[in-house]
C-alpha cells in the first residue's frame, strides 16, 4: 500500500512545479469558485425546461461563449499544450480534431437538431428510432462519455490545485497530495452543479469562458514578452523558435505514424459531432439561425485558444530546457510536468505568484465548465431518458430533478475514484470519450437526420456494434493498466491499427454499414417518423418552443393551410 502510493507520488507530482500554499492565487481561486456558486445560486432552477435546456432562450454570442467554455476543458487548456510539447507534430492532432469538427456539426447537424428540439441527445435517438432500448443505450453511452471525459478534467484540476494550495498528502488517510486535491476539486464542482442545473451552467459558462480565455491569452502574451520570444502576436511569432526546439518538436511522424495521425484526427472530429454535451447546446438557442451563427461564434472563441496553445507549448518547452533539463531524451520531461506546462511556463518566466495563479485558475475554470456540461448531459440521460421516460412515466418535476441531482453526485463519485490513479494523459483520456461518441452517437445522429429510412432495428444493431467495437481497443490498451499483472497493450498489432484514441476510423464505417444494411433489410419506419425527419429539414420557420414532433402532430392541417396559401397567391396574381 505504502509502496504503491509512494510510486504514485513520484509519478503524479510534476517536477519543477512549485508545490506550496500560495495566499494570492488561493484567494483568487476561492473567489472564482465563490463567483461560480453565486451565479449558480442566482440562476438556480426548479423547472425541468430550465434545468435541461435553459428555457430555449440563449442568443448568438452567449451561446457561442457557452459552446466555447463547454468545449475547452482541462484537455484544451492544459493537455493540448502538454501533447504538443511531448509528442511534437502528433500533438497537433488535438488542435485540428477539436476545432475543425465544428464545421461538420454546423453543416450537417446544428440547425436540424434545433428544429428537432428535444431535451437531450438520447431523446433524439429514442424518439427518432421509436425505441426505449435505443434511448437507454444512448443514455448509458452519454453517462459513460461523461465519466471517461471527466477523469481527465479531474486530473487537470488536481494538478493545478497542487500549485495553488500545496501538498496535503495524508490529510485523507491513504491518499497522496494529488489525490486529496482530486477529491476537493470534485466536491466543489458537484456542489455547484447540483444547485444550478443547465440555466446556471449556461450563465456560468459565459463567465468561465471569459476567465479562461483571458487567463490563457494574457498568460501567453506575458510569457512571450518577458522572455523575448514575441511581441504582439505570439500565435504567429513562435514559428521563429521552432527550429531551436529540437527535431522532436516539429519533425513529422517522429513519434507516430501517418496512419495514427489520420485515425486520431478523424476520431476526434466525428467524436466532436457526437458528444451529447456539445449537441445539447443547440437545443438551448432561440432559433435555428441562432444555432448556426452561434456555432460560428463558438468556433471563433475556440480558435482563440487553439491558435495560442502551440505557442504556449513552444515557449514552455524552451523554458523547460533552459531552466530544468532536456525536454527530450532520457530522462526528459515527465508526463506530469508536461501536463502543467502552461503553468510551468509562467512560473519559469519568473512571474509573480499571483500572475501564475491567474493562469492556473483559468485551467480550473476550463475544467469546471466542461465537467458542468458533461455532468448535466450525463445526469439528464439518467433522470430524463431512463428514469422519466422508461421507469416512471408519471414522475413529477420534483422527482426528476432529485434523480438528476443524485446522478450528478454518482457521476462525481465515480469520476473521483477513477481519477485517483488515471491511466493516461489528460488529452488521451478525453480522446477515448471522443472515440466512443464517434462510434455510437454520431452515426445515429447523422443517419437519423439525413436518411429517413434509417429505422429502429438498424439503430439498435448499429449502436450495439459501435459499443462493442469501441470496447475492444479499450480492453486491449487501457484496462490492463488498472490490473497490476498485465502489460498494455495486450496485442501490439491491434493497438497499431485500431488505437483506442483513434478507433472511430475503423468503427464508424462499420457502424454506418451495419445500420444501413439492417435498416434496408427490415421494415421502413412509420410515416409519422419520416415526417418528423422531413420537418427537421424544412426551411419553414418554427416557433421558439416548438419541436418538429409538435409541428407534425398538428401537421395535417398546417399543410392544408399552406396549400391554401399558394392558391391565395394565384388569386392575387390575377
Amino acid at each position: 500500500m505504502t509502496g504503491s502510493s509512494l510510486l504514485l507520488q513520484s509519478d503524479l507530482l510534476p517536477e519543477a512545479l512549485d508545490i506550496s500554499f500560495k495566499i494570492g492565487p488561493a484567494i483568487l481561486v476561492i473567489g472564482m469558485l465563490g463567483l461560480f456558486l453565486t451565479i449558480g445560486f442566482i440562476f438556480r432552477v426548479a423547472d425541468t425546461d430550465d434545468m435541461w435546456v435553459a428555457g430555449r432562450s440563449i442568443g448568438n454570442v452567449e451561446n457561442g461563449m457557452a459552446i466555447g467554455a463547454n468545449w475547452m476543458s482541462a484537455a484544451s487548456y492544459l493537455g493540448m499544450a502538454a501533447s504538443i510539447a511531448l509528442a511534437g507534430f502528433y500533438g497537433l492532432v488535438f488542435v485540428v480534431g477539436w476545432t475543425t469538427g465544428y464545421f461538420i456539426l454546423l453543416i450537417f447537424l446544428a440547425a436540424q437538431l434545433r428544429r428537432f428540439g428535444k431535451y437531450t441527445a438520447p431523446d433524439f435517438v429514442g424518439d427518432r428510432f421509436n425505441s426505449d432500448t435505443a434511448r437507454a443505450i444512448a443514455a448509458v453511452t452519454t453517462f459513460l462519455i461523461g465519466f471517461v471525459y471527466a477523469i481527465g478534467q479531474a486530473k487537470g484540476m488536481a494538478l493545478v490545485g497542487l500549485y495553488i494550495f500545496g501538498d496535503y498528502g495524508g490529510l485523507i488517510p491513504g491518499l497522496d497530495g494529488y489525490q486529496v486535491m482530486v477529491v476537493a476539486m470534485m466536491v466543489v464542482t458537484v456542489g455547484y452543479l447540483t444547485l444550478s442545473g443547465m440555466l446556471g451552467a449556461t450563465k456560468n459558462q459565459a463567465v468561465q469562458y471569459v476567465i479562461l480565455i483571458l487567463a490563457f491569452v494574457v498568460g501567453l502574451f506575458v510569457v512571450g514578452w518577458t522572455n523575448g520570444y514575441s511581441t504582439v502576436l505570439p500565435q504567429l511569432e513562435y514559428g521563429m523558435l521552432i527550429s531551436e526546439l529540437g527535431s522532436e518538436f516539429s519533425e513529422p511522424f517522429a513519434s507516430s505514424s501517418y496512419y495514427l495521425w489520420v485515425a486520431t484526427t478523424f476520431s476526434l472530429i466525428v467524436g466532436t459531432c457526437g458528444l451529447p454535451h456539445v449537441l445539447v447546446r443547440f437545443y438551448t438557442v432561440e432559433s435555428e439561425r441562432t444555432a448556426r451563427w452561434s456555432t460560428v461564434w463558438g468556433l471563433f472563441f475556440i480558435c482563440i485558444l487553439y491558435w495560442s496553445a502551440p505557442a504556449f507549448a513552444a515557449f514552455g518547452t524552451d523554458l523547460y530546457s533552459q531552466n530544468v533539463g532536456a525536454t527530450y531524451g532520457d530522462p526528459g520531461m515527465s508526463s506530469a510536468a508536461s501536463e502543467v506546462i502552461v503553468v510551468l511556463a509562467a512560473q519559469l518566466s519568473g512571474l509573480p505568484d499571483w500572475f501564475v495563479g491567474i493562469v492556473a485558475a483559468g485551467g480550473i475554470a476550463a475544467a469546471i465548465a466542461t465537467v458542468a456540461g458533461l455532468f448535466i448531459a450525463g445526469s439528464s440521460a439518467i433522470s430524463h431518458d431512463i428514469y422519466t421516460n422508461i421507469i416512471n412515466e408519471d414522475a413529477t418535476q420534483r422527482q426528476q430533478i432529485l434523480v438528476g441531482r443524485l446522478s450528478i453526485v454518482a457521476l462525481g463519485a465515480l469520476t473521483t475514484l477513477a481519477a485517483l490513479n488515471p491511466a493516461s494523459s489528460i488529452a488521451a483520456l478525453v480522446g477515448y470519450a471522443f472515440s466512443l461518441a464517434g462510434s455510437v452517437l454520431f452515426p445515429m445522429f447523422f443517419l437519423g437526420m439525413w436518411w429517413e429510412n434509417a429505422n429502429r432495428q438498424g439503430a439498435l444493431a448499429g449502436m450495439t456494434t459501435g459499443l462493442t467495437l469501441w470496447s475492444i481497443p479499450m480492453i486491449n490498451q487501457i484496462v490492463p493498466t488498472y490490473i497490476g499483472s498485465l502489460d498494455a497493450p495486450l496485442s501490439a498489432g491491434l493497438a497499431q491499427w485500431m488505437p483506442a484514441i483513434g478507433s472511430a476510423l475503423i468503427t464508424l464505417p462499420v457502424v454506418f454499414a451495419v445500420t444501413i444494411v439492417v435498416s434496408m433489410a427490415t421494415d421502413e419506419p412509420s410515416l409519422e417518423t419520416k415526417r418528423i425527419v422531413r420537418q427537421c429539414h424544412s426551411p419553414e420557420p418554427m416557433g421558439q418552443q416548438e419541436t418538429a414532433e409538435d409541428v407534425v402532430a398538428d401537421g395535417g392541417e398546417e399543410m392544408a393551410t399552406d396549400g391554401g396559401h399558394t392558391v391565395d397567391d394565384a388569386a392575387t396574381e390575377e
Partner: protein, 146 residues
C-alpha cells in the same frame, strides 16, 4: 399575420421578375412533409441548393484538414522547409494554424450562404424585434440582384 408578411415580400420582387421569385414560389409549392429526406438524393429545390453548399464546403474542408499532412507524408522535403518571415516549417504551420482557421472561415462562409439561401427562398427567421428590417433587406436585395 406572419403569413401576410411572407406573402407581401414574396410578391414584391415578383414584379421585378427573376430567380429569387422563382425560388420563393417553388418554396411555397413544396410540400416539405411529403418529400423524402435522403442525403444522396435531395427531393426539394431547397435541399438541392442547400446540399450543393454543404458538399462544396465539405470537399474544401477535407482538403484543408488532411491535405497538408498527406502531402507531408508524400513529399517530406518541400513540406518541412522553413517558411520565409514567419519561420515555421511549412507543414507545421498548415496544420497548427491553417486547419483551424480554414474551418472557421468555412463556417462563416456556410452561415452566410445559408442566410442568402433563406433570403432567396423568401424565408424569414427573424425574431419579432428584427423581423421588419429583415424583410426590408430581403426586398432591397431582391431588387439589386437584377
Amino acid at each position: 399575420m406572419t403569413d401576410n408578411d411572407t406573402h407581401d415580400r414574396a410578391n414584391a420582387p415578383e414584379t421585378d421578375g427573376g430567380v429569387a421569385t422563382g425560388a420563393a414560389q417553388a418554396h411555397k409549392e413544396t410540400d416539405y412533409l411529403g418529400s423524402e429526406v435522403n442525403i444522396l438524393n435531395p427531393s426539394t429545390p431547397y435541399m438541392r441548393d442547400h446540399l450543393r453548399i454543404v458538399w462544396t464546403g465539405f470537399a474544401v474542408w477535407v482538403l484543408a484538414i488532411w491535405g497538408p499532412v498527406t502531402l507531408t507524408r508524400i513529399a517530406p522535403g518541400p513540406m518541412t522547409s522553413q517558411m520565409p518571415i514567419l519561420g515555421f516549417p511549412l507543414h507545421y504551420f498548415l496544420v497548427a494554424f491553417g486547419a483551424p482557421t480554414s474551418a472557421l472561415i468555412l463556417a462563416f462562409w456556410y452561415s452566410r450562404k445559408r442566410d442568402a439561401l433563406d433570403e432567396k427562398y423568401g424565408i424569414d427567421h427573424g425574431t419579432e424585434a428584427d423581423a421588419p428590417s429583415g424583410a426590408d433587406v430581403a426586398a432591397t436585395d431582391g431588387g439589386s440582384d437584377e
